[in-house]
């Protein structure tokens, strides 16, 4: 055991829910200001932070002002805690672009919740964060409260090293409100991992200057190009940060995690809490001798297309389970996977299952139904399928 790991092993196990884990992540990362506006199911994050006497807690008058205020904090080089969900995140949209464009390394926690489309909804659905696909924010998805805490710490490190903001997302209620054992790092060690905030590159450490003004098209174009390349380069930044995290705390993370993929003929790809369900279904099938595997996606931006194909490209069939929907296109993760398959000329047949919208339960039996459907079909499947307890629908 390395001395770092021995140091990092001084962790306290506590039974907490995902919202508390997220709040603890911000505290351990050294956030000194917390900005929020009440929204379900995020508010427990801020309730936890508001009890911390070392954090200046601000309840703004809308999420729009939460992010504008947090941006102001970030301009000064301080770390800020921001968390929201659903309507709150889409209300922030305009400022989301600005924060990323200004290359401010904010970290935001989001507990995914269905947006108000046909009606109000409180359950888990990833459309809120995925709507931010093109803003330049990094996006990480979590399966457990432990991952929420750990990814907040890793996200600060990655965001500050890459000068890009990052979302750490988890399914609302399934993750925000369910209690599990979480190993909480020692505060000093956590802070040592995240690192001192290096302010030399911050705008307000530069000794004066104006930012955010009118930018002529050639300069604007180059700035956008640089953002694009920097997002793609985050994979390397993440790998280095995650390696140090594993060294310090004994938990290893990657942009994706494959299970039983080496000999799998069918691979199920998913992100978020549904991964636990998929894992259960895959293990059941494995026990019956089926060559089934899975890939859990931790990252949506950067999208680990190459790693995905390296892990699952040998399978004849790939299923993507999406707890989200872009009407007219289908599952959003599936669209990314489809693009990666095409780009890397992978011959696997893709099955896109949209399921669990609005927080509807996804059971292992449902995943098995999807696998049975794939096993019975040998033609080209419809672009999008909907998976319910009653079965598969087009």
């Amino acid at each position: 055991m390395s001395s770092r790991l021995a140091e990092g092993r001084r962790q306290t196990a506590r039974m907490i829910n995902g919202a508390e884990a997220m709040a603890l992540g911000f505290e351990l990362a050294g956030a000194r200001i917390a900005y929020t506006y009440p929204i379900t199911p995020q508010i427990e994050v801020m309730e936890t932070l508001s009890r911390n006497g070392e954090i200046a807690y601000v309840q703004a008058d809308s999420e729009y002002n939460v992010l504008a205020g947090a941006q102001g904090v970030a301009w000064t080089g301080e770390r800020c805690a921001v968390a929201t969900a659903s309507q709150g995140l889409v209300l922030m949209s305009e400022v989301m672009w600005e924060v990323a464009g200004n290359r401010l390394p904010l970290v935001m926690g989001v507990f995914n919740r269905g947006l108000k489309g046909p009606g109000w909804n409180l359950g888990a659905q990833q459309n809120d964060t995925l709507f931010m696909r093109d803003t330049g924010w990094l996006q990480f998805y979590c399966e457990s409260a432990q991952e929420v805490l750990d990814f907040i710490l890793i996200a600060f490190r990655v965001a500050e090293e890459s000068c890009l903001p990052a979302i750490v997302a988890g399914d609302g209620f399934y993750l925000s409100h369910e209690t599990e054992e979480v190993r909480i790092p020692d505060r000093a060690v956590a802070l040592a991992f995240v690192g001192e905030r290096v302010r030399s590159g911050d705008p307000m450490a530069a000794g004066g200057g104006n930012y955010g003004g009118l930018m002529a098209p050639p300069k604007y174009s180059r700035a956008c190009q640089r953002m694009h390349h920097d997002v793609t380069r985050v994979a390397a930044v993440f790998a280095a940060a995650a390696a140090e995290f594993a060294d310090r705390f004994g938990r290893s993370y990657h942009l994706l995690s494959p299970v039983h993929h080496h000999d799998a003929e069918t691979v199920v790809v998913a992100a978020g809490t549904v991964c636990g369900t998929v894992r259960d279904a895959v293990e059941r099938r494995r026990r019956r001798g089926d060559k089934v595997g899975m890939v859990k996606l931790h990252a949506f931006r950067p999208f680990p297309g190459d790693a995905l194909l390296a892990a699952a490209g040998g399978a004849a069939k790939i299923a993507v389970l999406d707890r989200n929907l872009a009407p007219g296109m289908g599952g959003i993760f599936a669209a990314e996977v489809r693009l990666a398959l095409h780009r890397l000329r992978c011959p696997a047949t893709l099955y896109s299952f949209v399921t669990g919208l609005g927080g509807a339960d996804v059971t292992p039996e449902m995943v098995e139904r999807a696998l049975e459907y794939m096993g019975a079909e040998n033609g080209r499947p419809p672009e999008t399928l909907f998976l319910y307890e009653t079965g598969v629908e087009e």
Partner: protein, 293 residues
């Protein structure tokens, strides 16, 4: 807007089949009941009533009423209500929401709806707390709130006391040029009915602050019963300066019609567009299109 061709309606005619989901004892029941009674007094055709809401416990109100209800997103109550009224001035448009929806997340819309004098009745069901999200301080929560025993949930979010001073919605609406400004209390339903009847009749933006306690997260029933008071007997609603003076200095909640003045509602100012018969509007549009043909 009164439909005299039918028999006089009862308050129960305005109920929908949906039972209110508010906590038993919520002040919003009193506001809903008063609104139904006001509709009945005015004998409004339910099919010509549109109730628009945003988010919050009070935002559920349209579901419980017959007629048309639009439950919108956080804070956008007033623009949606304004759009409905401008498109069809024949409708009675009522906007409902809480102190958070109206004066925090939707606060930017209030001055503009008021200054435009959109002919809608806006009922702010003020409970001085965010109830739906389980008890955070709102823009009207008293400063320092945390130590008060009647607020068991408030320390969750403001353990050191609410740091900001509350905003003064009556003074704000007076400053914006409100043409009808009143305050009622859900526990005094007869007066609230009277205020709502006057407000709906008023041709312009009618602002009604309806004190409506949250029994679960910030129970102010007893406190407010002790601090509500009627406006003085010699009160003149035309006297805006006196209204301002009271709004800025009152130590109690004064109930009644605070201020009223005549200003043309927006749809009348913009009337030209509505006054042109539809066929002529189409002909005018075709002439414009022809110019680009």
């Amino acid at each position: 807007m009164t439909d005299t061709a039918t028999a006089v309606r009862k308050a129960s005619d305005y109920k929908s089949e949906n039972k209110p989901t508010w906590c038993p004892g919520c002040g919003d029941f009193g506001v809903l009941s008063a609104l139904f009674k006001a509709f009945a007094q005015l004998d409004l055709d339910p099919k010509k009533i549109v109730i628009v809401s945003g988010i919050g416990c009070s935002g559920r109100l349209p579901e419980f009423a017959a007629g048309y209800g639009l439950h919108g997103v956080h804070g956008r109550t007033l623009p949606t209500a304004m759009g409905v009224k401008l498109a069809n001035p024949e409708l009675t448009v009522v906007a409902v929401g809480g102190d958070g929806d109206g004066f925090a997340i939707g606060g930017g819309h209030v001055p503009h709806a008021v200054r435009r004098n959109v002919d809608i009745t806006y009922i702010v069901m003020d409970n001085e707390v965010y109830g739906l999200t389980k008890g955070q301080p709102s823009p009207t929560t008293p400063q320092g709130m945390a130590a008060v025993k009647r607020s068991p949930s408030m320390p969750k979010m403001a353990p050191r006391g609410v740091p900001e001073m509350p905003l003064n919605m009556l003074a704000m609406v007076l400053a914006y040029g409100g043409s009808f400004i009143a305050r009622g209390f859900s526990s005094l339903p007869n007066q609230l009915v009277d205020i709502l009847v006057q407000g709906i009749r008023h041709p312009g933006f009618s602002f009604v602050q309806a004190l409506s306690p949250c029994i679960t997260f910030y129970d102010t029933y007893d406190l407010w019963k002790g601090v509500v008071e009627q406006l003085p007997a010699d009160w003149n609603p035309q006297d805006r300066v006196r209204a301002f003076d009271l709004a800025l200095n009152e130590e109690k909640f004064h109930l009644g019609l605070w201020h009223r003045r005549d200003r043309p509602p927006l749809h009348e100012v913009l009337g030209a567009a509505h006054d042109v018969p539809a066929p002529e509007r189409r002909a005018a549009l075709e002439r414009v299109m022809d110019a680009f043909a």
